[in-house]
């Protein structure tokens, strides 16, 4: 028998407690090791563009000339990633703009208007949307959306707009589920107090529930944005992959993820071109960490106001 509170290294204690505890602790710490490894490897590759190949980090972020294979007799390679950064930012913002009002409307419908229909029908519908693979979204976008945009507005159809619409469908489940959770955790008193004052349901939603659930909804929106930013194949299939700045939302464009997908296989390891692609991956990693920091900040603020 082991007496509580006493450290005892008897074989019995080792067998019934210490061994198991050590193994699970090891795997807990393994997650930290894995994350550090991941960041280290991507950073070591991504930073060699600047340290080994002497490319300017400012040009990497703000120049729009991407000629990583240009010979040294012509002035050396240029690794300006601004077109990709601009493409990623604009397509994700556009997707968010389309998706957010709709996602939040669905979340409100599920919690306030008809919880029963929401639970029985919309919840499974959202789960199916989560389960549909991104290549299938891309494929349907390519077969339906791209020709539709091409016929309606002219041009090729492959465009920023097509990518943004595909992304909007892909990120709406994230925003909706997080918003539903935020609305569900609100104290009942808020709603009852508002009704007691004689407000209609819409007034209660607009003036009481949405402002109170805003931090949670913002978390959902940032998570959706993060997902939009990192999505690769579905976007690449419909965006047209043009290496120039898009002139309008109907113009073809390119993102950080799509340039990596297209060129990583062709750029020989160790070249400036290959390293620059790793730098783009590092940029994606940094941005995704920033999103997490942002979510923590929103969460901290939200709990403070409660």
């Amino acid at each position: 028998m082991i007496k509580k509170g006493k450290t005892n290294f008897s074989p019995h204690y080792i067998r019934t407690e210490l061994l198991g505890k050590t193994i699970v602790t090891f795997f807990g710490i393994f997650l930290i090791t894995l994350t550090i490894c991941l960041v280290f490897f991507i950073a070591s590759k991504g930073l060699s563009t600047f340290f080994k190949d002497k490319q300017s980090p400012l040009d990497f972020l703000f120049s729009s000339i991407w000629k990583p294979e240009r010979g040294f007799d012509e002035g050396g390679p240029l690794t300006g990633g601004f077109v990709f950064i601009f493409g990623s930012v604009s397509i994700s913002s556009l997707a968010l703009l389309i998706s957010t009002p709709f996602s939040i409307a669905i979340a409100i419908f599920m919690t306030e208007i008809s919880p029963k229909f929401g639970q029985k029908v919309l919840q499974p519908v959202i789960e199916v949307f989560v389960g549909i693979p991104s290549v299938v979204y891309g494929w349907v976008g390519l077969c339906v959306l791209v020709p539709f945009i091409g016929n309606t507005f002219g041009g090729l159809g492959k465009s920023l707009l097509a990518g943004a619409i595909v992304l909007a469908v892909m990120i709406f489940p994230t925003i909706t589920s997080v918003s539903v959770d935020a609305l569900k955790t609100l104290p009942k008193d808020y709603k009852e107090a508002s009704y007691a004052l004689g407000s209609t349901r819409w007034q209660t939603i607009r003036k009481v529930l949405v402002p109170a659930a805003l931090p949670g909804m913002l978390t959902g929106i940032v998570l959706g944005l993060a997902r939009a930013f990192g999505e690769a194949l579905a976007v690449q299939m419909v965006i047209g992959n043009n290496f120039f700045m898009p002139k309008s939302i109907l113009d073809r464009s390119i993102t950080l993820t799509s340039v990596i997908t297209m060129e990583m296989g062709e750029a020989p390891i160790g070249t400036v071109h290959n390293n620059a692609l790793w730098s783009l991956a590092l940029l994606l990693l940094i941005i995704s960490f920033l999103f997490i920091a942002l979510i923590h900040k929103i969460g901290a603020k939200g709990s403070f106001s409660k």
């Binding site: 807990g28 991941l38 409307a105 290549v135 209609t200 997908t261 994606l284």
Partner: protein, 297 residues
């Protein structure tokens, strides 16, 4: 004034209903479109034959096999590690800096774009190990992708077990670890199983992490060869292997067969049906198990 606010309320309610109806319609149109377009290909011949890049009539047999193999192989890595880490987080982690760091790492890993994890896999599991594009490298990359999710699911499942059960076990003299293995884990099984099936369903659709690790080349495999050490055997993990999702991506970008479009339609339909089967299976299994475990069968 009152009339106006009531009219606004009615309008708002109508808009909310329209949004809900639109969502249901969108799903029906979306899945209906995929399955309707792929209907000609939903037969055993398409599912079991080899793809053909030169002429019409190719199937998706090897891709389907690779996909299932990939799910199994990746779960062999993810499951023990994720479950252990989940047990640690739910039962042993103290509220200190270490726990906070682990929690941050789980969150960071979960939010990484899958293409970044694919590149990490390319560097570590493909280049550094010297294996080249293999099914095993792909499975490892997907494991990294799913690890934070399985950890979270395990932690939640363990936490949702009623504390009174745990206290009863501790009270009769079982150690903490014995309580976890003999009492808490069995009680957590229904929600664990649901979570595990849903997570492995994610592997079905994953492509971005696999194009740089498992490769996009259709490597010929010989289904009569059952020696796992031979790279032409379907059982060998050391061969390049494209999954169904990667195949759809590839057909779209570099398809050469005259019926490439129809093959992609068919493959999408098969993939989406698989996803449905996984989702429904997870739900039914979870429900039956929890009913049996709570003694209401």
């Amino acid at each position: 004034m009152k009339i106006k606010s009531q009219v606004t309320d009615k309008i708002a309610t109508t808009i909310f209903y329209m949004a809900a109806v639109f969502l249901v319609l969108l799903l029906i149109l979306f899945t209906g479109y995929i399955i309707y377009n792929g209907r000609h290909r939903l037969n055993l011949n398409f599912i079991f034959t080899e793809p053909n890049s030169m002429e019409a009539g190719g199937g998706i047999g090897p891709q389907l096999f690779n996909t299932i193999y990939m799910v199994v192989l990746s779960m062999i890595f993810t499951l023990p590690i994720g479950l252990c880490a989940g047990i640690y987080m739910a039962e042993y982690a103290k509220p200190n800096r270490l726990t906070k760091t682990i929690r941050f790492c789980i969150e960071a890993l979960a939010s990484l774009p899958s293409i970044v994890i694919g590149l990490f896999g390319l560097l570590v599991f493909v280049t550094m190990t010297g294996w080249g594009y293999t099914l095993l490298s792909g499975a490892l990359a997907v494991s990294v992708l799913n690890l934070p999710i399985i950890t979270r699911i395990s932690e939640d499942a363990i936490r949702s077990v009623s504390p009174s059960i745990k206290e009863a076990s501790l009270a009769v003299g079982a150690s903490h670890w014995q309580t976890i293995v003999k009492v808490i884990l069995p009680c957590a099984i229904p929600s664990l199983i649901t979570g595990i099936i849903l997570t492995s369903g994610r592997v079905l659709g994953e492509a971005a992490a696999l194009i740089f690790t498992a490769g996009i080349s259709g490597f010929p495999i010989d289904f009569s060869n059952m020696d796992p050490t031979n790279t032409s055997s379907p059982l060998s993990p050391f061969r390049p292997a494209e999954t169904l999702a990667v195949f759809i991506y590839k057909v779209n970008s570099e398809g050469t067969a005259p019926d490439a479009r129809m093959v992609a339609d068919g493959a999408s339909a098969v993939l989406i049906l698989f996803v449905f089967v996984f989702n429904i299976a997870a739900r039914i299994l979870g429900k039956t198990l929890s009913r049996r475990f709570s003694g209401k069968s």
